[in-house]
Symmetry: C2
Subunit: 344 residues, 2 copies
């Protein structure tokens, strides 16, 4: 075993979904795009479907095709990027529901698959995906007649409950969907936590399922243990790693562990990162390299066999802070070289 061990707690994901469903008290979908934030969309969705989830969201048609194979018939699989050129056959074959984002996508969908399910994504101010208010106003009657499964939008600032953008987007969504008796959805994890005014008929949590902020009450989902290759004594004045960026100021024991930025351990976290061994914190020294990280284990009483980067003592958000990023990127970056183990 010379690669890290990534353990993914499927029961924790199910518990997080149930907790968010309880908060929302409306239909609770599951966002499993980006391979369920790197944790295996097929396995995650199967477990959530067994727990009662009936609606799943992916980013791209290709992801929807793979998810349909894992889930079989039944659950609704919606695609945020909508109906793109070249996607028609896959959308039809895998019974996917594209969230149409523009008049162009609408025309493509109605021409190619006139009787196939679809939803509508509306832009309420994020200016990233969805129909603009004016575009929607012109097409609204035609679209509603075709019976979309869902009218949805996405919040730009939901992680910050006090941001005035939340109420602005909510008002815009109300305004654009007023008088329409169709299912509506505005909230992902952040919006779910903003309260009932944001829940409408369906919430669509993603990051909250996987143990990340802003769902502070989430159960941790991932554990990452990285094996030690060797431990060496380094004398005062000796340097460690690329560019000689770290110099020992006391006699030190330096462990070299078998993971690096090719495993998604973002290079930028280098000098700030910490790992754990039996509850004790140990700091990274020098640069994170492609396949290796060097760690100062001088403080440990015994030579460790492995060190833990993610787990009960250190969340994805804490690791994100080492690299100046967000927990979402830590999860989706986790690489392909780990041994992966899913617990239920």
């Amino acid at each position: 075993m010379s690669t890290g061990l990534l353990t993914i707690d499927l029961a924790a994901i199910v518990a997080n979904w149930q907790a968010l469903a309880k908060i929302a008290s409306v239909e609770t979908a599951a966002v499993v795009k980006a391979n369920a934030y790197g944790l295996d969309a097929g396995r995650v969705a199967q477990h959530l479907a067994n727990a009662g989830a009936r609606q799943f969201f992916v980013a791209a048609t290709e992801e929807g095709v793979a998810l349909r194979q894992a889930l079989g018939d039944g659950p609704v699989i919606s695609v945020f990027s909508g109906h793109m050129e070249g996607d028609t056959q896959s959308i039809a074959d895998a019974s996917l529901t594209p969230m149409l984002n523009s008049a162009q996508q609408m025309q493509r969908h109605f021409a190619a698959l006139p009787n196939h399910s679809f939803g509508i994504q509306l832009d309420t101010g994020m200016n990233r995906l969805g129909m603009e208010p004016a575009e929607w106003a012109g097409l609204r009657s035609e679209i509603i007649e075709k019976g979309p499964t869902l009218l949805m939008s996405h919040l730009a600032c939901a992680d910050d409950p006090d941001h005035p953008m939340n109420a602005q987007q909510n008002a815009a969504f109300e305004d654009m969907t007023q008088g329409v008796s169709l299912p509506r959805s505005l909230a992902a994890t952040g919006g779910t936590l903003l309260g009932a005014a944001y829940h409408y008929d369906m919430v669509r949590p993603g990051i909250g399922l996987y143990g990340g902020e802003p769902f502070g009450a989430a159960h941790p989902v991932v554990t990452l243990d990285i094996p030690v290759i060797q431990i060496r004594d380094v004398a005062v004045g000796e340097t460690v790693g690329y560019g000689n960026v770290w110099t020992a100021t006391r006699p030190s024991k330096i462990a070299t562990i078998a993971a690096g930025y090719a495993d998604g351990l973002i290079r930028a976290m280098g000098p700030n990162a910490k790992l754990h061994s039996d509850g004790m914190e140990v700091p990274v020294v020098g640069r994170v390299s492609m396949d290796l990280i060097t760690v100062d284990v001088t403080a440990l009483p015994d030579a460790p066999q492995s060190l833990q980067l993610l787990g009960a003592q250190q969340s994805v958000d804490e690791v994100a802070s080492f690299a100046g990023t967000i927990g979402y990127e830590i999860l989706t970056s986790l690489g392909t070289r780990y041994q992966k183990h899913w617990t239920e």
Copy 2:
């Protein structure tokens, strides 16, 4: 097609290997760890073997096992992390050559596989992998008697030709290997470019094969084209993306493209990144999100179908500079959602 298209030029990799082999004029191995820096170790190594490469290096035993399946018998596959606990069976079955890094690894190897090939990695000052000078001095006779395939070390500062560490490590390597008539290797790409004093009997280029610095003369290897999902008009004062971090100061056309940090497009590059369309440069606006990036395409004469992040107009090192990192991390982060196409 709703994901990006990643094109990998295998002929360029072969040409880069040949160019480095010409510079070195000694046995030229190929480093294909981290799945050939994300570009498919099996395909890359097969093409290099056809071009004459006989020695390959990986980081972990698991990578060596996969590479042996792709290459078949014949080429030497060496493992930088050496002989780790639990790896014995795989090393034997796949005929891998571990680079032993410590007395502990040596004892493990000699006990478990007394007649199996091995090399020795020496630490010449990087303090990351390899035997320390004192450790090596004590074991040297015993090891040499067993006939290692290679004595090797690795340079910490080879990307900076003027760094005094290069000469220091070279002197240490000379000192530790003096009087030994066994193949020796010190140089990766950077060391290959430092000149004949660093070449010994074998050079081991990695990044140079894949088109990255410090091999400035490298042929570019990867092209990444990302499809446009939709283009919208944004009025002065409107914001784009998460956190409202970008505000339009003129009437703008904003394209939303189908890739994000879940595809390895590092989130930190956000406000600095640029893409290209038919030779024209267009800037990213707002934050890179998980599956989407927003780009200001106001300056383009026509609505683009896709935008190019990597290619003839923008190298992996230029993209790396947007995120404050190195081309190596851009390559190894390239994600699994792209359609991949290998040209020969």
